[in-house]
Amino acid sequence: MADKVLVANRGEIAVRVLRSCHELGLGTVAVFSEADRDMPHVRYADEAFCIGPPAAAESYLQADRIVQVGVDAGAKLVHPGYGFLAEVPDFARKCLDAGLTFVGPRPETMELLGDKPAARGVARELGIPVLTGSPSGLDDDSLLKAAESLGYPVMLKAVVGGGGMGIRAAHSPQELAAAIPRARQEARAAFGAEGVYLERLVDGARHIEVQLLGDIRGHVIHLGERECSIQRRHQKLIEEAPSRALDQELRQRIHRAAVRIGRAVGYVGAGTVEFLLDPEGQFYFLEVNPRLQVEHTVTEAVTGIDIVKEQLRIAAGRDLDYNQDAVLARGWGLECRILAEDPNRGFAPCVGQVSRLREPAGPGIRVDSGISEGVTITPYYDSLLAKLIAWGETRAVAIVRMRRALAEYQIAGITTNIHLYRGLMDSTRFLGGQFDTGFVEETFPRQGDGGARRAAQGWKADSARRLAAALTAALLEHRRCEGDSVGRGRVSRWRMMGRWELTNRWR
């Protein structure tokens, strides 16, 4: 396997894929937009090619251009990561037509699974429960009629795509009528196809997914489940493996269902079968994500299997390295998605330059980062900066590790949602595993910053930190005045207020 791999992605997942390539001794080719010249994946690869202006449509979504770079650079394989072109069958076909091996399932499989109502049909034929829903391809009126027969509330979803885009809940015909055009527009913008369909909405549901691996000889195994119930607006924030919501019997049934679906579609590569679990313990097939997922890392944490390496091996035509019995889960994996989003301002995405970065380390901690000190976060792509993964022998150990690592994490120059996780790790509901997909939205707006305080002497209280900030600012200025060189450089960048003074001192 001394071949070269083109990684058709950016950010943390590009670095993640490049790492496995390097471990396998594969040469690497990165692509980057004009906005991403400074990003780590460009430096981390052996070679790097600019593929266009910042907008994704003009760079990371330019299938032909990327294929041409692969050909020019002499690559043999193309790894699409997730997002961008990862689930676009035409891109996979273009790779194959140019003699490049696409690291992912066959284009026909991607097409079948990309039509979600069709994928649900596969599950139904296998006798696996699916949520009642509408077929795809309905017009607005037919959708409203279908909702009547399903019964409200309903979930409106894009036929293709993923990542929470184009998903809306509707509790009444009025809400649904308003939601349809917006969902169509989002889906069109994100995936280039405006088809939507309906599903019954399950209150208090948990999101469980099963990782699959399949090779070209038809072997399909699972690497256990993940739970991704900590979401905000259908965007996953915290993922874990295994799930607390499953007992051993239910776990085995879900795993088996996932493998049967994988076998039925002849799945090749790494993929994920998503299920909803209702409060009564009934699970329903949702969809198959025919790609590497952001949260594959928690499965790696508990199984020890490098899923990206397996993808590359499978793409190279090798048999699976494992049979089902060799896959053993140990302990607990947790992942927090570190996003450039401000939880205190409605989770608005933030841009800016990363002026200081210290990522956590030490026992049980893994950081998959797509940034480095000095890079500028631009508004062109998603807000995922890095993923923080903690492993522990038990869920409790993983949580305290995660809390310790979150305390170590320092990013300055750009606002992130790290504080949000500090609060969540202290939340008794999270500690107790008592949450569903509405947890963050229910909990955080009321909890705010205060929940992030660590108990007792370990964590510095807000007031002590303000005192420390005040003294640092004053002492640096003081030293500058006294001609001490220690503070120089920093202080000169400040702009002193100088506009007001205190009349009553030392009160």
Partner: protein, 182 residues
């Protein structure tokens, strides 16, 4: 030398003594601050803090303590300029002193509070450091002083009015060239 720092709206009055001694709001502290790489290590009565001083905006700077950002504003705490001040002027005088005022300055409330006094009216000439208004906030009276000399071209708030953070209370225009009518 005394300093006043406002961090996230909390006011700290700070004085540095000999050695590593400092007083904050009259309380003594041992302070040991050192720069390491791009950040600072602060030992405050032996409590250890990692501090990063991030880029400033118009209204102050961001001081990140233990990974949490705080907004800090700072000024020297004495009303006039005392004998120590030679060194300071070179530092931030750069922004304040150069030549005559050439554009309007908006005097803004640094904190929400009650405007207690307005010392000027439209057309009043002011020198640098003249008191323009007094704000009551967090149980303290805050004097707002002119950052440069000029003419008060607009008074936006009357005494007894509640003002919000960053609200403009008055505008100072270049001397003899009032650029607005109010």
């Amino acid at each position: 030398m005394k300093y006043t720092a406002i961090v996230d709206g909390e006011i700290f009055q700070i004085e540095f003594g000999p050695g590593s001694r400092a007083w904050v709001n009259g309380q003594p502290y041992e302070v040991d601050l050192t720069k390491v790489g791009g950040q600072y290590s602060l030992l405050l009565d032996h409590l250890s803090y990692e501090v990063h001083v991030a880029s400033a905006d118009e209204d102050g700077c961001y001081v990140t303590v233990g990974g949490r950002p705080h907004h800090a504003m700072l000024q020297r705490g004495h009303r006039g300029r005392d004998s120590h001040d030679g060194g300071v002027k070179a530092g931030h005088g750069a922004k304040r002193r150069p030549g005559p005022l050439t554009s309007d300055i908006e005097m803004r409330a640094p904190l929400p509070g009650l405007l207690v006094k307005m010392e000027v009216a439209q057309g009043t000439p002011v020198e640098e450091q003249d008191v323009v208004a007094v704000l009551e906030s967090m149980k303290m009276n805050l004097e707002l002083r002119a950052p440069r000399g000029g003419i008060v071209s607009d008074v936006r708030v009357a005494p007894g009015t509640q003002v919000g953070q960053d609200e403009v209370v008055a505008i100072i225009s270049p001397n003899g060239a009032s650029s607005r009518d109010g």
